[in-house]
Amino acid sequence: MTIAEQRNDSIMSEPDPSGRFGEFGGRFVPETLVPACQELEAGFKEAWADPQWREELHVALRDYAGRPSGLSECHRLGEKLGLRLLLKREDLNHTGSHKINNVLGQAFLAKRMGKTRLVAETGAGQHGVASATAAALLGMECKVYMGAVDVERQALNVFRMKLLGAEVEAVHSGSRTLKDAVNEAMRDWVATVGDTHYCLGSVMGPHPYPWMVRQFHRVIGDEAREQARALLGDDPDVVTACVGGGSNAIGIFSGFVDTRSRLVGVEPRGGAAVTRAVPGVVHGMRSYLMQDEYGQVEEAHSISAGLDYPGIGPEHSYLSSINRAEYPTVTDEEVVEAFQLLSRTEGIIPALEPAHALAWLVREAHTMQGQTVLLNLSGRGDKDVGQMMDVLKDRL
């Protein structure tokens, strides 16, 4: 148990009994799923309080996923930007992103609760690959729903999931991206709730998901705080991460929310739920949501499949509403530049998702001269290389 978990005065403490962070969160699901959510909440609380189960998870994170992930200082890029830049290397985890933290937690929990099958949604495919991986590890069945648009732009991850033994179903409804994959995964869960666990991939959805997934990812922030203090003798001035649903951001924020560090979650310009700041209810939660004048959910647009989501996890809406974190946006073009910049100056090809946080940093670096900045490099760029070949073919 970490110091922050023992505090009950933390800004990120447990949600209230209805699953709310301030006025955000809740459990807006069909009646069929209410008992399953209640069971999951009870099962998670019990497992989380069980030292033996926590130790099993800890060992898996260490020996299977490769934790702790490193902290790399970017000397060349830092000098170029006029600041001190540290990367939390979630890209070095097994399966290539932070997603494995949450998936191992949920899969171990599902197994403990007697479930034999996982369903998952995926955008970029990272959560799908992590879910397929955990299912293979634990001998569970796995079905992954993925928007048809994403199946096309992330073909490599589709193949990886199949190789790992998962069934991948392309979703052709609505915008055919992440939001529609969530709808389809929920429809599956409504029909299969007896033997199936819905392995939700972000800090979103009905209670207890936003809270549970945050707890599984807080290892990022807890490690990074210790690592940063060892290196800097202090907390960083700025902690930044990209935000779609917001799981990697909440993970790293959780280590710093009670420090002086400035917290910055970066959204794509075409998926700016917090900038618009209109609350809505979809996918089981009340949170900021891009919607039209009648309340129909709008389609997000982003170069990165993983951030192509019109909503945001409820705890982010809360952190924004109390002015503890800020949520600026960047354009696809800025992301493409940042993607290349990190590759050339540091020899690290980032995923397009964390390239959003880097794009914000590059644009705003002039306001942070001499400061220390910790950026959560949530995933590696291998999955994006095919897509970027098309984007950059005439520029390299």
Binding site: G26, F28, V29, E31, V34, P35, Y294
Partner: protein, 257 residues
């Protein structure tokens, strides 16, 4: 003329009639005529779907109808504006998802329904624990909040659901989303029986009641049925007249029980 859902369904049920409530997606071409055809052929009420972008409780048929309606420019307002002119002489309820209510605000949305002559509402993604704001507003506006009960509910949950229900209780027929199935799930009559044991409010089975034969089987236990996908598929494939013919067929089957 507005007909009140709660009083109308209860008096029909008490008179020994089995209740038939078709669902029609509002805004889908021909929807007004389909509702008139339902009324003319023996429906006791009609559930009008206000299409939503992310209908998580709906299967492929109603998803397609909703998407087509939205692409045709349908809005909650455009559906509600048409309701008074339907003038079908049976009660009308709406089925939609909570974000459309939340976006308007529960009080304003409930008042809009009441002004249009709608006297019932079904919100499948608003479970008991989240329903207070809406249910209070709906009660005040004279709109019956039709609560759903699912086969997964433990016994202790059902009395709390029926206590909150107005109009009728929507007994979800199976584990799954709306759509036609080859046979009626065993859960359909089992849950209806559990609900009938704890309430005097009419209990209607919906989700997975796919034809006249299944409707007849369901009403052996339940007070009636809701039929959605089988109605909407006929509307999309053949038009309003075929919906009317089908309603008559189901009517005859449940009257013979």
């Amino acid at each position: 003329m507005t007909v009140d859902l709660s009083t109308s369904l209860r008096s029909s049920r008490d008179a020994g009639r089995k209740l038939l409530v078709p669902y029609i997606t509002g805004g889908y071409p021909g929807w007004q005529d389909a509702i008139r055809a339902c009324a003319a052929n023996g429906a006791d009420a009609v559930e009008i779907g206000i299409p939503f972008s992310d209908p998580v409780m709906d299967g492929p048929v109603i998803q397609r109808a909703s998407q087509a309606a939205l692409e045709g420019g349908t809005t909650p307002q455009s559906v509600l504006e048409e309701v008074p002119s339907l003038d079908v002489g049976i009660p009308l309820a709406v089925m939609t998802y909570y974000n459309l209510v939340h976006h308007d605000g529960p009080i304003r949305f409930a008042n809009r329904l009441a002004e249009a002559g709608v006297t019932g509402a079904i919100l499948p993604d608003l479970p008991l624990e989240e329903s207070d704001d809406w249910a209070e507003a709906a009660d005040a506006a004279g709109v019956a909040t039709i609560m759903l009960a699912a086969p997964t509910a433990p016994d202790e949950r059902l009395p709390r659901i029926v206590a909150r229900a107005r109009g009728f209780v929507y007994s979800v027929g199976l584990l799954g989303v709306t759509g036609e199935r080859d046979s009626l799930a065993e859960t359909a009559t089992a849950l209806a029986g559990r609900l009938k044991a704890v309430t005097d409010t009419p209990v209607l089975v919906g989700v997975g009641v796919s034809n006249a034969e299944q409707a007849a089987a369901a009403v052996k236990v339940a007070d009636g049925v809701i039929q959605g996908a089988s109605m909407v598929r006929r509307l999309m494939e053949s038009g309003p007249d075929e919906v009317g013919r089908y309603v008559a067929e189901v009517r005859a089957a449940i009257d013979a029980v």
